[in-house]
Structure formats: C-alpha cells, structure tokens
C-alpha cells in the first residue's frame, strides 16, 4: 500500500478511470496546460491530450452545461469548478438539468456527470475561496453529494462517482489536499456512495463529521481518550442522500450526539442529521442533540483572527465534545 496525499488520490482516480474508459474526459478552468490551480489534474493533459483534458473558458454555467450535454450523449464527463464558490452560476444547469434529466424523461435519458469542486476554508482564501456550499445541494433529489475526508475514500468514491449513471457533486476539502495523507491500496477498489462509516468506536458519545472537520474531530477524540472518554466518530462521506441506517444505529449506540461541520449552522447538514435522529430514536437519546458549526455569517473573513473565529478547530471541538460527554 502506498502513502499518498488527498489530492494525489484525486489525480490517481482520474487517471485510472481515463485509462479504463475512453468516454471519461475532464473539462474545467486551467485543468489542462496548468494541471489545475491545485494541481489535481497535473500530468493528465500531457498523457491524454487536449481532447480529453479541456481548458474551458471562465464560465461555470458553460462547463456544467457542456458536461451535462456530453453525459446525455453517452460520455462520462468530469467537470471541475475551480472553487466551489464559483458553482453558483452553474446552479441552473446542475439543479434544473442534470438532477432532473432521468425523472423528466421517464428514464429514457440519464446524466452520468461528475462535478468536482474544492470547498472549505482555513486557507486564508477569504470570501470567494473558502465557502462550504454543500447544504444548498443537499435537498435536490436526483443529485448525489459526496464529501470524502481521507485519500482512501477520495479515490474509492471518485471512482464510484464516475461509474454512477446519475450526476454526482464531488466535494473536495481544499485544506485536506496536501495536509491529509493516507494509505491507498493499488487495487481497483471502490467505496459505495450512500454509505457513512464509523471510523472510531466509542461508548460515551457519537460525533458526526465530514471533510476537514472529521480530522479535527479525530484529534479531539484522541485527546478526550486520555481523559477516559471514548468517542465514536462517524465520517458521513455521502451528504445526500444520507445513510440513515448508519446514522440511526450510531446515535442509538451512545445516546449522545454531536454534529460538527464547517458550513453555517442554520439549515446545514447538521439540521438534517439531527432531524433524522429525532424522528427515529428519541427514546435512545440521553442528551439534547448538539451541533457545532460555522457561524451564520455571510462568508469566511480574510483577517486571520476573524478567520480563526469563524473556523472550527480541534480545541473548539474538544470543548464541545467534553461538555456533551459530561452531561
């Protein structure tokens, strides 16, 4: 098994899928000659040529629209939004066209497109390079939203997304790109979309997280373990549709639930996860369901102290977990 970074897992999955299937191609801003602003597509232009790694104009609606058209035609396009923040001009294409194509045509047409988008903050990216946009896409039936946190899951889930016959929004946390490294086997494994994973077991409380926050939660869990508190950590992985089965089972097992995400609190993923738990296992709850999320502020500030205030970190998470454990 090789130790690779989160972004290397993206590149490997793209490359291997392009080798496997001639219909797979990439389009996006600077994905070709430049190899992507984060270097996620580095080397692919050289290997597969300009017809399969296409530098698109600065128009996200066109990138998504072209990809959706190609997908309907039988291709397997992977569209890159340079930053998730820029996806807004492509929302009509994604929500009104891609997500509804199968339903609208009564199953005659489908849309196997993958839209990759680096999201999240903590990188001094300020207002337009730090946003978490997942909540907006997590009530659009017909669309799947995936947000892996480890290189293993990145590679396995990106493969599954490319194999999927319907549109998948694939969210990559940009702070994880070079920060997170992990072991990835050389085999052609996949990770199923729609499955959360219990990545740490514990009997005192259950924490749900994804992306960068998953790693911060794991750090806080290690610290709490030294004080004798055992935390169960669930990596949500697929944000839409949610893996209700795993969420309910995990919540039942400890009766104390904390949901952590970087996205704004109100109307975020935590709202839905807590609603599922409240509906399904009220009589197993031993404490109020808690959420620790980004503040309801329009965007991540640039000023370092303000960004620190906005971002969650292992310390803030540790305190919230400790408080819940002690309840």
């Amino acid at each position: 098994m090789a130790m690779i970074s989160y972004i290397e897992a993206v590149t490997q999955a793209l490359r291997e899928e392009m080798l496997r299937d001639q219909r797979v191609f990439i389009l996006g801003e600077d994905v070709g000659v430049r190899g992507g602003v984060f270097r996620a597509t580095a080397g692919l232009y050289e290997e597969f040529g300009e017809s399969r790694v296409i530098d698109a104009p600065l128009a996200e609606s066109a990138i998504a629209g072209v990809a959706i058209g190609a997908a309907a035609y039988g291709m397997r396009p992977i569209a890159e939004m340079q930053f998730a923040d820029f996806i807004m001009t492509a929302v009509n294409q994604i929500v009104n066209e891609a997500a509804k194509m199968r339903y609208r045509s009564n199953g005659d047409w489908n849309c196997p497109v993958v839209i990759r988008a680096p999201y999240g903050g903590g990188v001094h990216g300020a207002l337009y390079h730090s946003q978490s946009i997942e909540a907006m896409f997590c009530n659009v039936p017909g669309l799947k939203v995936v947000a892996p946190s480890t290189p293993y899951d990145v590679k396995g889930l990106l493969r599954s997304a490319i194999h999927d016959n319907d549109p998948v929004l694939f969210l990559e946390h940009k702070r994880c790109y070079r920060l997170i490294k992990g072991e990835v086997p050389d085999t052609d494994y996949t990770v199923p979309i729609g499955k959360a994973e219990i990545k740490r077991d514990g009997s005192d409380l259950t924490v749900f997280a994804y992306g960068l926050m998953f790693h911060y939660v794991m750090q806080a869990a290690e610290k709490l373990a030294l004080e004798g508190v055992q935390t169960q950590v669930v990596d949500v992985r697929t944000l839409y549709p949610l893996d209700r089965e795993t969420i309910i089972a995990a919540a039942k097992s400890t009766g104390k639930v904390l949901i952590v995400h970087e996205d704004n609190k109100e109307g975020g993923l935590g709202s839905e996860i807590s609603a599922v738990i409240a509906e399904e296992c009220l009589f197993d709850l031993d404490a109020p369901i808690k959420r620790l999320c980004g503040p309801d502020v329009p965007a991540m500030p640039y000023s370092p102290p303000m960004e620190k205030f906005f971002m969650l970190g292992p310390d803030k998470i540790y305190l919230a977990m400790k408080e819940l454990a002690e309840f």
């Binding site: 070079r178 197993d284 031993d286 408080e323 002690e326």
Partner: protein, 396 residues
C-alpha cells in the same frame, strides 16, 4: 526572543522546503528583511522577518521540508517579553440540579423496573446518565446472580446505595481550574510574608465627595477611590523598583515597566486584567482604564492582551467590606497589595481623640525576593502619598 515559523505560502499548501538561508547566526536583520528562500509545490518565495533583531539560532537546515507553522529560526529582539498563562473566558453555566431524566434513561428504567431514586448520577449537576442506569442494571443483576449461586444466605451484599444527603457536584469550569492551578502554584513556590499598615484618608474622602457628582456628569463614569490608591502605589513602586520584580531561576528580574494587575470579581470567577504603563497615566487615566476593564470583564470581552504582562497586583477587597486580608501572590509577581474598606475610627492625634476615615493596606510579599525592611519603606511611601491627597490633588 521571536520565533519565526514556516509561513503559509498559498492556499492548500501545508509544507515547504528551505531551499536557501539568506542569513547566518549572528546577523542583524530589520523587519521585512528576507531570511530564507522557501519552495513549495506551488510557489517559490522569500520569507521576510517579522521583527528587527539578531538571528540567534537556525532550526531547520537547507534542503529540509517542514510543515507550515514549524519553527524555523529564532530572532533575538531588543525588548523582552513575558508570557503569562491566560484564564480561558468561557465560564460554564452550572447545571440545574432538578431531577430530569433523558428519554433513554426513562425507557431503560421502565423496561427493567428500576427505581431511579436508587441510582447515583454522575452526569452534569448529578444527572443520571444512560451509562449510570446501565451500570446500575449490570451491578444489580450481578449481585442477584451471586446470591443465587451461594448455598447459604450469608452474604450481606446490597444493591449499590446512595448517600442520604444529596450532595451536589459542581463541574470545574476552565476558569475555575486555571484559578486553582495558579493559586496552588503561588502558595507552593513563593514563601508568603504579610504586612499591614493603616492610612488616614479623611482628606481624600472629603475631596472625592466634593468631586464625584461633577465628575460623573462630565465623564460618564464614577470616580472611585481605587485610581487614587493605584496612583499612590505606582509612584511608590517608582521609588522602590525592587517591589516591581519577579523571581526567576536566572535571577531576580526588576521590571522597568509598571503594569498594574487589578483583581475583578465576577459571580463565578476572578479575572486579573492589566492597566498597562500605569506610571504614565494620571488619576483620570487610571480611572478610565479601570472602568473599561471592569466593563470588559463583566461582558466577557477581555482579550489576551488585557490579561497579560502585569508586574504588580492591586486588589480592592474593601469593595466586599473586608478590613483585613492576606492576598495570595499573583505569580510571577513578587508582591500584591489589597486595599481594605474605609471605615470611620476614633484615632489619637496630638493626644486628642478624633474621628477619622481610616483604611488598611495589606501587602503580601514573596520572601525569596523581598524582605520586611524594603516592604515597610514601600508601604510607608504609599501611606504618605495617600494621606497627602486632598484639596489641590490633580485628577487630570
């Protein structure tokens, strides 16, 4: 000593390689001077110095790759800095002690016919947690099993009982913990000695009575006695700088700057914000700063800067009605003075009995650093200054 760390050279970059050092140990650098060249997989850049000073140590060698935030070198700056641990400012609310059960606890209790009044709670405020009920359940079934196994009923084992008196366990908040640690540290490390002196503040009382209404109207906050006392203490500290010092392994550090820590109590905790450069401030300046710090403390808005760097502490115990106290030193400071309540007392002056406003000034000292002689002189100096307040005292 300034620590220079590997900067973040672009979004998503988490590590960098020092490709070349542009300075050597011993070099003098100005602020913004380039220190080294760093290459990452995105950019190559120079790392500028954040301070002026002398390179005292290079930690990361050329060619090495380190994570963002890793210490790469030390720069010795002219000004020495002091680091003080800061009390975290998130006091926990104390939980209600009322017995309320979670859905999980109630369900388990119903399923197994458990009398919850027999279960000891270990949660916040003594709450019975799901784990407590499960543990109780396990305990009672084990007990039953062992009784059944035995042939003769000799065992007097009982199901776990609870104490008849409902003792309340209050969880220790982070602030409480910090206070506890600092107080224990102070009492264990510094041998405390104690001294008290009485001052006649009749003139000060009369003076303040005359000024206070006008002051409040014009300035928008009350003129208390504390700024007068602090002013007198600061002037005395300038006269006896040895009091404004601290004990370290390297030697006794006599502080040039006079930053006065003041103790501000809240219902649940004690904070010690700092009036910086108190020796450069008028009575008015000190009064205004006290007002701001007290307000910030109550609103929970104190910053790290507000709480650090104090060199001497003044505690206004008189505000609680105390007439004598033996304060615990605020480490690493060498002395602390508490100002007690001003009370009218019969006093002998020139063999006549007069009714005067008197106040006790209580000083605790670190006997490693200070002795009675110098502290006595210092207190005399404070007393003299306080007693000289009255008509003609400059507030502004």
């Amino acid at each position: 000593m300034e620590k220079i760390v590997m900067p973040q050279l672009g979004e998503s970059v988490t590590e960098g390689t020092i490709s070349k050092w542009l300075v050597r140990v011993g070099d003098q650098v100005s602020r913004y001077d380039p220190l080294c060249e760093v290459s990452t997989d995105k950019v190559n850049a120079e790392v500028p110095s954040t301070v002026a000073g002398r390179i005292s140590k290079i930690v990361v060698a050329e060619g090495e790759t380190v994570a963002v935030g890793t210490l790469i070198c030390y720069i010795e700056t002219v000004r020495e800095t002091t680091d003080q641990p800061i009390a975290p400012q998130s006091p926990q609310e104390t939980q209600e002690t009322k017995q309320r059960y979670s859905p999980a606890v109630l369900r388990i209790a119903q399923d197994h016919q458990i009398d919850l009044s027999k279960v000891t709670g270990t949660g916040a405020g003594g709450r019975i947690t799901r784990k407590d009920v499960l543990a109780y359940l396990e305990g009672s079934s084990e007990t039953n099993a062992s009784v059944e196994d035995q042939d003769s009923p000799t065992s007097q084992e009982q199901v776990p009982t609870i104490s008849s008196i409902k003792d309340q366990v209050i969880p220790i908040s982070p602030v409480r913990k910090t206070i506890a640690e600092r107080m224990v540290q102070s009492k264990q490390e510094a041998p405390h000695a104690w001294m008290v002196m009485e001052a006649d503040v009749t003139n000060l009382v009369a003076f303040r009575e005359r000024k206070k209404i006008e002051f409040k109207q014009r300035e928008g906050f009350s003129l208390t006695y504390l700024p007068f006392f602090i002013k007198a203490i600061v002037e005395a500290l300038k006269e006896y700088p040895m009091i404004n010092s601290e004990w370290t392994e390297q030697g006794i550090v006599m502080k040039k700057e006079v930053h006065i820590s003041i103790a501000v109590a809240r219902e649940d905790a004690l904070f010690v914000p700092v009036i910086r450069d108190a020796d450069q401030k008028s009575i008015y300046g000190i009064a205004r700063e006290i007002d701001q710090l007290v307000r910030k403390t109550r609103e929970g808005k104190l910053t790290v800067a507000d709480l650090s760097g104090g060199t001497f502490t003044v505690n206004n115990t008189g505000a609680f009605g105390s007439v004598l106290s033996a304060p615990i030193l605020n480490p690493p400071q060498a002395a602390i003075l508490s100002v007690e309540k001003i009370i009218k007392k019969p006093v002998v002056i020139d063999n006549m009995i007069a009714i005067r406003d008197q106040v006790n000034l209580c000083l605790s000292l670190d006997h490693r650093v200070l002795d009675g002689l110098i502290c006595g002189r210092f207190l005399q100096s404070v007393k003299r200054r306080i007693e000289s307040y009255g008509e003609g005292t400059e507030i502004f």
